[in-house]
């Protein structure tokens, strides 16, 4: 091997680690170049959405299921943290973990019966879950503050260091997002992850290879709910204020669209999808007004032409073209 080949091989071998490192460095330096609070506020929102989308993408892309109700877990996390820290005066960090544990339990109890369903039925059931949670947030005034929302949620802090401005929040939120990204990457590249890819490919074949398909689906559902709950808690502490509007079924469908844009089962795609859909309304005024139409349109178009999702679909078709060319070369 020449040293150039060696170098390229090294890059190929460590591509995941190198990409994570590169991204971390870029995010570390970003506030030095861009300190406009508005822009950082947007990238912070991307980070929060990305955490939810990572988990949801595992559920849709690997467990091969659908959920139109993840905003429910996002909302439970947000309101859970708000109520725990303000009403019950539990310190924010333990509150966040306690809430995530409760959400995990809720997801488990909901998941066991509804994951017997599939397709449209599962979509309807998760939609129903979202309605129930949203209605509770809206109607249970005494606890949630009702339609006017819940304010006065404390910032997160380490000792005297409070995460109270966009730059500090940038480091906190992206720190958590990168950590989640790393955990998800590890998961899909492990033996367990291979079982999950088998499950995504064909449920019967996966079971024949020893994958406990029912358990795997439930576990992924719980994992995605926990990530959504953590994102919700961060959301609450980041804005000090939450209202039921942030956790409607439209939030859920936006999350699904982020997954679809990024591509089913693509961890990196999740990041891209979250960024694109969070930023689009900023770039196009038109988008603001007709948001739901455009989102719906994107969803339909991607699913019609690239059922694996936009980014994965494109990457995969390129990969297949390359492989076919290699196959042709090999046979001649």
């Amino acid at each position: 091997m020449t040293s150039k080949q060696k170098f390229l091989y090294f890059i190929y071998l460590h591509r995941t680690g190198l990409t994570v490192t590169g991204l971390s460095l870029a995010l570390l330096l970003l506030p030095l170049f861009e300190d406009n609070p508005y822009t950082l506020g947007l990238t912070n929102l991307i980070a929060i959405n990305a955490i939810v989308v990572l988990g949801l993408n595992l559920f849709i892309g690997y467990a091969g299921q659908i959920s139109l109700g993840h905003a429910a877990f996002f909302g439970l996390g947000a309101y859970g943290s708000a109520i725990a820290t303000v009403t019950y005066e539990i310190p924010p960090w333990p509150a966040m973990i306690l809430v995530a544990a409760i959400v995990a339990l809720v997801a488990l109890l909901v998941g066991i019966p509804i994951l017997r369903l599939s397709g449209h039925y599962l979509a309807m059931a998760t939609l129903g879950l979202n309605f129930v949670v949203h209605t509770i947030l809206l109607q249970w005034d005494d606890v949630t503050g009702g339609p006017s929302g819940f304010s006065g949620i404390p910032y997160l802090s380490f000792g005297n260091f409070e995460f109270d401005d966009e730059v500090r929040l940038h480091y906190l939120l992206w720190g958590v997002t990168l950590l989640s990204l790393l955990l998800c990457l590890n998961l899909v590249r492990s033996g367990v992850g291979r079982g999950l890819s088998a499950l995504a490919g064909d449920e019967i074949a996966a079971a024949a290879l020893g994958v406990n398909t029912r358990n795997a689906k439930i576990k992924i559902f719980v994992l995605s709910a926990v990530l959504a709950s953590l994102a919700g808690s961060l959301f609450a502490h980041c804005y000090s204020f939450v209202s039921p509007d942030s956790f409607t079924i439209f939030t859920s469908t936006d999350m699904v669209i982020m997954v679809v844009i990024g591509g089913m089962g693509s961890i990196w795609g999740s990041l891209f999808g979250a960024a694109l859909i969070t930023l689009l309304p900023e770039w196009l005024d038109l988008f603001e007004t007709y948001k739901d139409f455009i989102h719906g349109g994107i969803l339909v178009l991607v699913l019609m032409f690239l059922p694996q999702g936009l980014v994965t679909g494109l990457v995969e078709s390129i990969k297949i073209k390359l492989a076919l060319r290699r196959r042709k070369n090999a046979s001649t």
Partner: protein
Amino acid sequence: MLQLKHVSKNFGGLPALSEVTFGVPKGQLTALIGPNGAGKSTLINCITGVLQPSSGNIRFQEREIAALPAHQISRQGISRTFQNLKVFSRLTVLENILTGLTCEGGDSMIMAMLRLPHLRHRERQLKLRAMEALDRFGLTDKANWPAGILAYGDKKRVELARATVSRPQLILLDEPVAGLNAEETATVGEQLRLLRSSGHTMLLVEHDMALVMDIADQVVVLDSGKCIATGTPGEVRQNPLVLEAYLGRMDATA
């Protein structure tokens, strides 16, 4: 090793299997033959837990498995291939083979997310074993191809490699050479013979009579869901019932 007793399966009242009884002895290759629609695939599905038999017992190594879910049956050491291929087309060839080692890769999602050192070590070992299997089936140069673009014959070999890489106790093969040309059939036949000589127990569903008569130790004949004959290839070939039910009809249709 595997013992079926009075296994029946109905689909909405229509019997697909009735009272099937036979055994698969350890270390031997048992062939299961019968005309199309005889219930061969249904029987494999019942053994592997894809379907639940309507009645009857299936014992594997002294353990009743008829009521177990598919993944637990697989974990007892029973692996299979599918008549209509179930290769994971989005995964590479190597990854496909590695899915055959799923049970050995560890179970805990949390440990996997933390990527603990002992898991990384095990991953490397599994990869080596998968590469060996690729080598055995002549797929090494295609290890990193997406399995979806493989030719039909290669996909069949991927399934075979995936089903055998974990060194299962019992391998169920549902028409592994259907649709292959003579040359490919010969290679697969050679690989089956190798597997048998290395002590694997197999149940082979096959239409290719020449192959069956050549490599089977025991032949079980199924017709309209009933087991009509069991014996060595020589015995079965001379059984008048079989000639009439199976070979006769084959001649008529051929």
